[in-house]
Symmetry: C2
Subunit: 388 residues, 2 copies
């Protein structure tokens, strides 16, 4: 057996992949070799998703076909709608999304197959359905009518339409589309790695995506932009100066969410575009959140040499788009499903079970099986917690 890997498998190269290239030191992110700056400026979520699933950019005919297929997949079984109507309205959208995606497998004709073509069909359905589930549940919990999908709209446009029941502006659609491109893949991030570990047992795509949603839900992953927005709200509510508020937090050794990244030692290339989106949207509507964010960014960079990451400006961007804070992580999922699907397809196309080993640190083997009457009382972890 080899030696213990760094904690959290930091910098351990777990598998080969042709999907996403990152150079953290140089601040490079690319999908299939194409720089994220190019894609953010010139591509669409549909085209980027085609790229992630197929390896190269589509021809005009392919893109047209792909966009139609994705729009045509905007269908939810009646049972899923019933399920979303019956679930407690207090449920968190991520719990609802995780459960609904798991439930969807029961209605998917390709459920068990791990063949390339079946996986692609499921990818179309899941990508379309995840956006719909988020919008439909939000309408239901707010006591609003469910909005029927509009196949004439883009993926980003249709989501905003189904969420708000109003045709979105071009700026809003563009801002969300860019956010979806930027979040669509990020190599072996925790949720994608979870999806691959699950898929590698030759379990089905719905199982892998359900697990990925569970991982994304964690505060160290998808939950980070929610924490950024809570900070902005706290500052706003207290009427504090943003810089002084953050200075006090740093003095208190509190973590400022939205800064630094395991992989990037320079600026997160995605932050650049979200900063611009946040600023552009602010100009159209309310510049408050952008301006507050910008002041904090400059201060934290000066003070701690930490760069804003993808989460930092997505908070003000989404809020300025009028999106509820507890939908930030679901929107991350609406985008990342493109990458998750690409990785599950790649895993199944050349599979090997992912099964590492642990370094055992417990009682020495063989520890005796002492008969129950002879066992001495032990201090248990919970005893100290209970008495604290």
């Amino acid at each position: 057996m080899s030696t213990l890997a760094p904690k959290g498998l930091q910098d351990v190269v777990a598998n080969e992949s042709s999907i996403c290239f990152i150079d953290g030191g140089k601040g490079i992110l690319s999908y299939r070799g194409i720089d994220i700056h190019e894609l953010a400026q010139k591509s669409t979520f549909e085209e980027t998703t085609f790229l992630l699933w197929n390896g190269t950019l589509p021809t005009a005919a392919e893109l047209n076909d792909f966009s139609h297929q994705l729009a045509a997949a905007r269908q939810l079984p009646d049972d899923i709608i019933t399920f979303l109507r019956n679930i407690p309205k207090t449920a968190s959208p991520m719990e609802v999304l995780r459960t609904a995606v798991s439930l969807l497998s029961i209605y998917d004709p390709d459920e068990k197959s791990v063949q390339h073509s079946a996986n692609v069909r499921k990818s179309f359905r899941l990508t379309a359905q995840i956006a719909m589930i988020v919008a439909v549940f939000d309408r239901i919990r707010k006591g609003k009518e469910i909005v029927r999908p509009d196949t004439s709209l883009s993926h980003a446009g249709n989501f905003l339409w189904m969420l708000n029941g109003e045709k979105p502006t071009e700026t809003a659609t563009k801002a969300l589309d860019v956010a979806l491109i930027l979040h669509a893949d990020h190599e072996l991030n925790a949720s994608t790695f979870a999806a691959r570990v699950i898929a590698a047992t030759l379990s089905d795509m719905h199982s892998a995506i359900t697990g990925a949603i569970g991982a994304l839900k964690g505060p160290l992953h998808g939950g980070a932009n929610e924490a950024v927005m809570h900070l902005l709200y706290d500052i706003d509510k207290a009427g504090d100066d943003p810089v002084e508020h953050v200075r006090a937090m740093l003095a208190n050794k509190e973590k400022i969410s939205g800064f630094g990244h395991r992989v990037y030692t320079t600026e997160d290339p995605r932050a650049t575009h979200l900063r611009r989106m946040s600023e552009d949207l602010g100009k159209d509507a309310n510049p408050k959140w952008y301006e507050m964010s910008r002041k904090i960014e400059i201060f934290v960079k000066d003070e701690k040499k930490l760069n804003a990451n993808v989460d930092f400006y997505s908070a003000s961007t989404y809020t300025t788009l009028g999106i509820n804070i507890d939908l930030f992580t679901p929107i991350f999922a609406i985008s990342r499903i493109a990458g998750w699907c690409a990785h599950v397809i790649e895993q199944h196309d050349d599979n090997r079970l992912i099964r590492p080993r642990a370094d055992y640190t417990g009682p020495a083997y063989p520890a005796p099986y002492v008969p129950v009457a002879q066992r001495a009382a032990q201090t248990r972890p919970l005893d100290s917690e209970h008495s604290a």
Copy 2:
């Protein structure tokens, strides 16, 4: 960045753990240092679960208290029962279990907390509830009345009671109890590793367990004992000699499920006890499946030098217990939940995000963003599959 790890992270030591010690070369499996042979012969599922969660064996008072807590946790919210009644009866039990566990989080008062004490409370509930969900859904799909839990029975006994609506024999209860002990943990197997990857984002226990169930569902993991039973049924139906049937399969280069293991190079120590269980149960009822299995085991060992693994004799054991083939993997989950919970607790008690890297093998960076009108047609993976 370090060099590429072996495919599937084979033999990569991903983290420290004090839960399970395995020496694959010597055929040793132990929980908290205590040999699995000792536990299989002397312990119960309740005591073994205490051991996994707390690190040492319980005193008599602790064991009594623990068993009562686990029995008292045999409760499902009414909404879960309604959900199980409404789900299509054709759904596979693993899809139902994965979805129901995800749904349960919405009703769990400790949902978000990753504190040790909250995780232990959730572990009691999930361990009790997973067994109930499997039994309740099986009753519903067969058009039978749901059986109320009996808190006077052991975990194994209560499951058989709720599944069959008859008080189980001592031999049956004992056989299932031993099977639950044997499957309760196995270090960083794929489902447990998936649970830890999910938990390491500080996501909640229900997310981690939902993902683990998804991983266990795969044919390379929990699904293997189902494949063993399908083989036994095929042989029986054809009226073939078991050895000649398997000889023909090997000549055909077909894989025989239930043999060999990534970790063990000698006999899987769990197989020893399941072989005995299968034999004992066969004596009471129908020895056919045991005898057929034994012949195959001896032949494959002679012919291929491959040892039977945990899945091989669990197939005949469960079938002789009258359990449906599509409940084999759910029963694995009913046991492995003990280990999953122990690993999620351990992960959350000393957490670090699990986020490895990939070795990029795609188009060289920077690949150009060619405008759509200038893109050449490419051969797509699906084209060849479609034309095949």
